[in-house]
Amino acid sequence: MQILELFWLLPVVNIIACLLAFFFGKTVSRGKAQVWTLPAIAFSWVMSILGAVAVIGDSHLAHEGITKTYKWFEFGPDMFFQMGIHIDGFAVVMCLVVTTISMMVQIYSIGYMRGEPRYVEFYAVLAVFTAGMLILVTADNLFLGIFGWEIMGLTSYLLIGHYYEKRENSNAAIKAFITTKTGDVGLIIGAVVVYWATETFNFGAVNAKALEGEFHAPLLLVACIALFIGVIGKSAQFPLHTWLPDAMAGPTPVSALIHAATMVVAGVYLVARMWPTFVTAMNVHIANVNLIALIGAITAIIAALLALVQFDLKKVLAYSTVSQLGYMIFALGIGAWGAGVFHLFTHAFFKALLFLGAGSVIHSVHSNDMRDMGGLRRIMPRTYWTWIVGTLALCGVFPMAGFFSKDEILASAYHNGYKWVWAIGLAVAFLTAFYMFRATHLTFHKNYRGHGHPHESEGLITGPLIFLAIPSAIIGFIGAPGSFNLFEKWATPAAVEETIAKYPVLHPHPVDTTTFVLAGISVALALLGVLVATVVFYWEKTPGDIVERVAPIRYLHRFLANKYFLDHLYGGIVYGIRKPIADACYWFNQNVIDQVLNLTAAGTLELGKGTYLFDQNVLDGFYNGSAVGTDRIGGFFRKIQTGNIQQYAAVFFAAMALLALALVFAVR
């Protein structure tokens, strides 16, 4: 019990590490800032493991968890903000993910960032970022959550804009911060609405009130929509996703940590933590389409299509992240809490692995563009094999972690009546396999197209890769469907279980033949994607004569021939959809959504200039005008003082006469 109570140490230790690194980085540790931050993150990692052990041991702890809060500050008659931690299985799992990935990234960065400018500041900000994420994950109320949320926003701005000498890097950083900040507007409004509707920010209390129906209906919907806008901003969902690919301007370890495993997942965490509120608000259990599922599905499909046409390795992974985030969001949207969170858990590992792998490739090839890579299989074996493990996991091929989590989501989608989501999920699975293996072939197979001579990265870089490859491979089994699903047993908070119990539709579906059939279909699609990618990129065959000449394709073709649907799929869709739709989608994304964002930015700038002109000329003009006016009136009256005594006398007598006149005749 007592281990969990010390969890408030996690963020605090990291913040202290950041301050030490910042102030003593250059002087005491002679530029090696990781001397300060690594022990802190290691300590947090060990604490998370101990916490996990404690949670596995005691199921009450896993579900109820412990809460320690104390009054932060009072802002009205007996209204006050609280600062506290609420640690349950779910929180421990999240801490585990965050600390592991963060530690791996910090070790990886020692090699990757050696010699880079502002090395010390990089580590300091990295530590603050981890602290921010841990605050959000361990917080027991929404207000403290917003604290962690915005600290991560700041650090992502600083890290993306790490190489701020070049103007487009700082532009990308600003774009990221502003887009997430626009989302945060929703978050803040949602928090305010939640507070006034339930008189508290505490997650548990809000969820309980939502379940019992005390949460005033229209306010509940408004609050959830507002909060979801915040999630869209932070987790780069459909309308506000354009900042994530641009955020690749930051150093690769940053992309791995922030834009794969932790920060972008914050939105998913928030939805998961307040899942009962969202379920009741969006009545996930009744309708078969709701905002969350819709946005998630759209994001998944669009991002997957966009990833097809990228030539920048990191951009491919970025769009892949957006797509997988879409997966998690619509998993929560269709009521599969366990599956969604498990996917989050597994995705963190293998996506971080892929990003760090990409980083190692970029580090040795000194360029992001896949066109001047290739043939690195023999030159960088360790990176290659860990990359393959990560790719297979991402595509959801059987033994790997990705299979279990993604398959669970698809099964739940099918089972909970969200058939269209299931279909989109399958399509995305296919596309994921396709673009991942496209990237793999372009970077690792065939012959080296670049100039320069790449070499395998040093131990400090490949070590974390291998370390991450292990969970990407085996972690899937703890979340296997059916009775022995350990993950859901530990990680589901009590409130979530209550919701599932309350709404029959969300009951966990029995493990039977349909699950295996569904699993089979999704794996088949994944393999198909791999096959198609290999055909197009590895054997570079033109579509025309592909069927006859190559033996395996011929057998496969004959095998597939009897399923007309598949043949149509093979012939038409592969080429039908690949080039035009993807390009159209990319064009749409760049020219419409991104443009809309840039245009709004430019528009506000122009609006700013317009208001300023209005302010200077109209408003200020009015005041200056009144000053000039008084001056002119003064000038007019000045003429009367002619200096000629007789004129004064004349006026004097005339006035006197009139006065006398009035006096004599008027006064009766």
Binding site: G76, I188, L619
Partner: protein, 514 residues
């Protein structure tokens, strides 16, 4: 030590003036003595302030250190001064800021170098400000309110930038115009209120009963007069055009004091005088104040986007931030007023720091034009770091001073006082939330221009010295305060809450009625 209780406030208020007079006596040549006397005077006032803090009874919301002597008995206005939860934070902030200003300008005084004159004016200004925050009598308040005007006029007029004359006259006329109407309001209050009195405590007792006698239309007009006087000082939307000019032309020290404290006289006036004495009028004015506040937020941020001059941008950002404070006040709820007072303190600390850094940048780069500045983080990293920290605090980032004030005022705006239209104020809240994005927009735009990027060609060769000793000494307390206010907002909230809640209980029971 009870003599201290009665004398403390008067001591704190008038030590600076005594210091100023002593400075007058020292011949102009002996600058060192002048500087020492100036510093000693301001520190002495600060020590008295700390003494007050130490003897402060934290959970009593009422007036403490109260002194009520006869002054101008002819017009029944007496020397009634006291401190309570609302004015204590501002009082201490003034003492701190002035000491820091004097330390900051220890060895580099603005052009036409004359430490004697500048210190004299600053100390006179300090007395004016301190007096305004402690006075509980309308005439005394007005006198101190005007006393602050003159030194500021000379500070901008003598040590300002190119069009300093235009700026100082504009500042002076604007504020004078406002305070003329304010005085009319005070007099109207005196004559129309039941027991003819200038005493704020009597007037605002049990929900402004004394002034409740006034007919509602007259009440509205009196409130209009007070509103004009305070709104110009805040500054609120249509009456704000003096602020950017005053700030762009004012010397660094002038800008800091103007931004950190003088702007708070207006909002403090609302909370201390306008709201408690005329709650009915305030209630019918509230939607308009809210509307102007929100326009101010959006308008200020938009204007910032169009700026090229660094100090002018920070000045417009003040218009935006004070918009949040006024939104808090417009809700007429204890939550709103708490948010407003915290907003005042946070804005004072943060914008004060921003102007200090802007002044140092101007002193090193000799220009305020952002297009010529740049690459501060690489050329003078420590200064750049401080600038980034303060910019993010002003942006309203949690864990830094800006956030609690803004968040609570948005929170308050969701549930305004009874009778005020909720949908209107919720609309204000959403507009204010959008305002935070715009604030983020122009702050980052500024950071990109000034802190990040390459060191521009013309400064490549120069050796730009990083933060020096006086700057260190004067900035550290502010930086510590910025972070402390962000992490422990209870520093201010506990103090203000204990006196805002009873004040509004009165108003609710008697005037607006729940």
């Amino acid at each position: 030590m009870d003599w201290f209780d009665s004398w403390a406030l008067s001591l704190a208020v008038f030590i600076p003036v005594v210091g100023a007079l002593v400075i007058l006596a020292i011949p102009k040549a002996r600058e060192y003595q002048i500087k020492v006397v100036g510093l000693v005077a301001s520190i002495a006032a600060l020590i008295v302030g700390i003494g007050i803090l130490s003897r402060w009874n934290w959970d009593d919301g009422g007036y403490q250190f109260e002194v009520n002597k006869g002054w101008l008995s002819a017009i029944r206005s007496n020397y009634h001064i006291a401190l309570d939860g609302i004015s204590l934070p501002l009082f201490i902030l003034t003492l701190v800021i002035v000491v820091l200003c004097i330390i900051y300008s220890w060895n580099h005084w603005p052009e036409p170098r004359s430490p004697k004159m500048l210190l004299f004016l600053i100390l006179l200004l300090e007395t004016g400000m301190l007096g305004t925050f402690v006075s509980l009598d309308l005439i005394l308040f007005f006198v101190f309110f005007e006393v602050t005007l003159l030194p500021m006029y000379f500070i901008i007029g003598i040590w300002g930038g190119e069009q300093r004359i235009y700026a100082s006259i504009k500042f002076f006329l604007f504020t004078l115009f406002g305070s003329a109407f304010m005085l009319v309001g005070f007099l109207a209050l005196f004559f129309l209120s039941e027991p003819h009195t200038f005493d704020i405590v009597e007037l605002s007792a049990n929900g402004g009963a004394a002034a409740a006698v006034i007919s509602s239309t007259a009440g509205l007009w009196i409130f209009a007069g007070l509103f004009l006087g305070f709104a110009i000082k805040v500054p609120m939307f249509p009456l704000h055009t003096w602020l950017p000019d005053a700030h762009t032309q004012a010397p660094t020290v002038g800008s800091v004091i103007l931004a950190a404290i003088l702007l708070k006289l207006g909002t403090y006036g609302f909370v201390r005088i306008a709201l408690p004495i005329l709650p009915q009028a305030a209630h019918s004015w509230a939607p308009w104040i809210g509307l102007l506040a929100v326009i101010g937020i959006i308008y200020g941020s938009l204007c910032c986007l169009a700026q090229t001059d660094l100090k002018r941008l920070i000045a417009f950002s003040s218009v935006g931030h004070m918009g949040f404070v006024m939104l808090g006040i417009a809700t007429l709820t204890p939550v709103g007023i708490n948010a407003a007072i915290f907003g005042m303190i946070a804005h004072g600390v943060v914008t004060g720091m921003l102007f200090f850094v802007a002044g140092s940048i101007h002193e090193r780069y000799h220009t305020r034009d952002m297009s010529r500045l740049g690459g501060m983080l690489s050329s003078i990293p420590r200064m750049g770091g401080v600038f980034v920290l303060v910019a993010f605090a002003s942006l309203g980032l949690p864990a830094l001073a800006g956030f609690p004030g803004e968040f609570t005022s948005m929170l308050a705006s969701f549930e305004p006082a009874g009778g005020l239209s909720q949908s209107l104020f919720r609309g204000f809240m959403i507009a204010a939330a959008v305002g935070t994005v715009l604030t983020a927009g122009y702050m980052l735009y500024m950071l990109q221009r000034v802190a990040q990027g390459e060191v521009p060609g013309e400064y490549a060769g120069h050796h730009l010295h990083d933060i020096e000793a006086p700057e260190y000494v004067s900035w550290t307390p502010l930086i510590v305060l910025t972070v402390a206010l962000g992490i422990f907002p209870s520093l201010v909230f506990n103090v203000t809450n204990s006196s805002v809640v009873p004040m509004f209980e009165q108003i609710f029971h008697h005037a607006i009625g729940g």
